[in-house]
Symmetry: C2
Subunit: 390 residues, 2 copies
């Protein structure tokens, strides 16, 4: 096991009806900005309940709507302006990963007064090691299980055509309310995306090379088995509480630092996927489902030992050589994605061979030229992976 | 899945050599009381390294040694006096569960100035719902993997012949340093105790009745499988880093709130065990190993579904009826404890039938008369369990 630091101070309030605890969680006398996306939190009544709760104590409440999927810097800067103008003291994100990620950026940008006028630099906090003194406190109310943003300190922001990571220990939400019933109204394609996202967050921290970390491995395998077991079922039975509760809780656990502590991590599937979203606008989760099978086939040598362990423990594949088990597990994984109605072929999204170079150029432009757990996934290898996924 | 709140703000610094980060973790200018047990932290050099680190910044350092296993109220009150006299601002526990638990009591007792002279009442914070405004901050350096105290807010204190639970959200350690190499010098019986303790912490949160909590169940099963897999091996190979690292990390995970969130819990094995320690002075972990098999046999009806799941997933017992699987798993568990050199028969510890009544009276005196996940484990049932374990 590698050395590690684990820290996660977010308080989770989980379960049916727990939104009713909101008043006790947000500081009294706060000046609260409620941030959300499109109309669904309005349409299905979540926003009304939130506002009702907040009004139970003396607070000044402001709203900011319109945070889009893959939230844009320009949109978020409008929220930053409101915070500055209204002296906002607390940010409440109501939505999925994009709203929560966007809120984290707002939290940083409002507090980092030394960056006024050059907030774009803050979008690179994941890369350039900017340290900050403070950030506005955040609470979240999760309506879409997927990104784990409700229980971590990271986010992804879109700047122009680039998807860039922010990351700061100050942006752990103070609390997150996870009521699985708030996700009942999601369209099935978003639920499928959430399952894939959770699955591949786990994979990026698990299918690397072995370091004998039993807790991390077995916990990862547990999350993967759950996704396989309940994935299709929770899409088909959106109001089954236990199914949805297990999706929601496993998705938080997949990206809160727990399974990645002390093990190698490989975020290549995400990095290759981000470029596909940036160039073609394909949903984040779908890009992951596209990249994973071909990345594994191209990188089978590097990942063979863990792939065979995955084959055996998650898919119960016991026959064959290590290589054969690994290949069989890749096939099973692809079939699992397909069973959720998600195509793993880039061509099914209208992408053709001659467009691949533009995607690879994006990786190079973002300096993702030596990625993966072993640092040797070069643009040439990435090209091979993209071509294989056509 | 049941509704739950999960909160765990302790920062974990894990791995070989990480004690060298201590200076960066304890506040500068602090007045630090270093608390420890007997001579082993002195003998093996851990204390020297700790003091060396603390002295790297301007701090006033005090020491308190002699915290015994099952730490006594009277002993801890001496540390409280030092804190008051010397205006201590930070407590650093160096040791195992008893030192950490004792330090938590000191933290509470020093801060709860309204309880001066009647600190005994604070030993009952686990039961009487006393709320406190503040507690002295705590850091821990773990030398014995077992209790999980390094990553939770509870503890057990001995008052007279009673073992009583303290519990307060203010006593989560600020940080805990877990360096598995610090545990290499432990006597094998203490390592065996740690394995049993970790195993049964997990069991108390897992072998109850099913509520369809897949993350919690599979994570529990992972910890149990690891204990079975590495238990004997890490006793026999005390300086194998990976084995010991997995014991240390799994033992923290077994009692930090994670696997118990949203599921029924049954702390009967512990409560019945505490009375055995109180009356006969048997090691805590050994009392658990004694109680578990007979408690399961007596309570097989209440626990049958989860026992069969445990049989299947942890022991790979696939043949037979639910009852047969459950019984087979109990036998396998008992054999596992025995394989670690731990007897599961109360008579092997010199206890005879006529002494059982005194133990049952202890349960009654402590008001543990309707315990377990279903609240129907009465003193009569407890007596049956004790008698079966002779």
């Amino acid at each position: 096991m590698n050395n590690f630091t684990f820290y996660n101070p977010t308080k989770i309030i989980f379960g049916k009806g727990e939104l009713k605890k909101l008043d006790s969680l947000v500081p009294k006398n706060a000046r609260v900005l409620v941030l959300y996306g499109g109309g669904s939190v309005k349409k299905f009544g979540t926003l009304d309940t939130v506002l009702e709760e907040l009004k139970k104590s003396k607070r000044d409440i402001f709203e900011f709507s319109g945070i889009e999927p893959n939230p844009k810097f320009e949109t978020l800067m409008k929220a930053v302006e409101i915070c500055r103008k209204e002296n906002i003291t607390f940010l409440l994100a109501v939505g999925g990963g994009s709203v929560m990620d966007g809120t984290k950026f707002v939290s940083i940008a409002v507090s980092a007064t030394e960056f006024v006028g050059r907030e774009k630099e803050l979008v690179y906090t994941g890369h350039n090691g900017i340290t900050l003194k403070s950030a506005l406190p955040i609470g979240t109310i999760v309506t879409l299980p997927a990104t784990g943003s409700e229980m971590n300190s990271g986010g992804v922001i879109t700047l122009g055509k680039d998807k860039l990571a922010i990351s700061n220990p100050l942006t752990f939400p103070l609390f997150s309310i996870l009521d699985p019933t708030l996700t009942y109204t999601l369209p099935s394609t978003q639920v499928a995306n959430g399952i894939i996202d959770t699955f591949i967050h786990t994979i990026e921290q698990y299918v690397t090379y072995p370091v004998h970390a039993t807790f991390q491995d077995r916990t990862s395998e547990g999350i993967l088995k759950t996704m396989i077991e309940i994935g299709k079922e929770t899409i088909d039975n959106p109001t089954n509480y236990d199914l949805r509760a297990n999706l929601v809780w496993n998705s938080s656990m997949a990206l809160n630092g727990l399974i990645g502590a002390g093990v190698p991590q490989d975020w290549s599937i995400h990095l290759l996927g981000h470029e596909l979203t940036a160039v073609f606008g394909i949903d984040h989760a779908k890009t992951l489902a596209i990249v994973l099978p071909s990345l594994w086939r191209v990188r089978i040598k590097e990942k063979e030992a863990k792939l065979a362990q995955y084959a055996q423990r998650v898919w119960h594949i016991t026959e064959g050589t290590t290589r054969e088990k690994a290949l069989k597990a890749i096939q099973k994984t692809e079939e699992f994605f397909n069973s959720l109605g998600i195509s793993t072929k880039l061509s099914d999204y209208g992408v053709t061979e001659h467009q691949i170079n533009e995607v690879v150029q994006g990786l190079i432009r973002h300096n993702f030229t030596n990625i993966s757990e072993t640092g040797d996934l070069t643009p040439e290898v990435a090209k091979e992976i993209y071509l294989k996924s056509l």
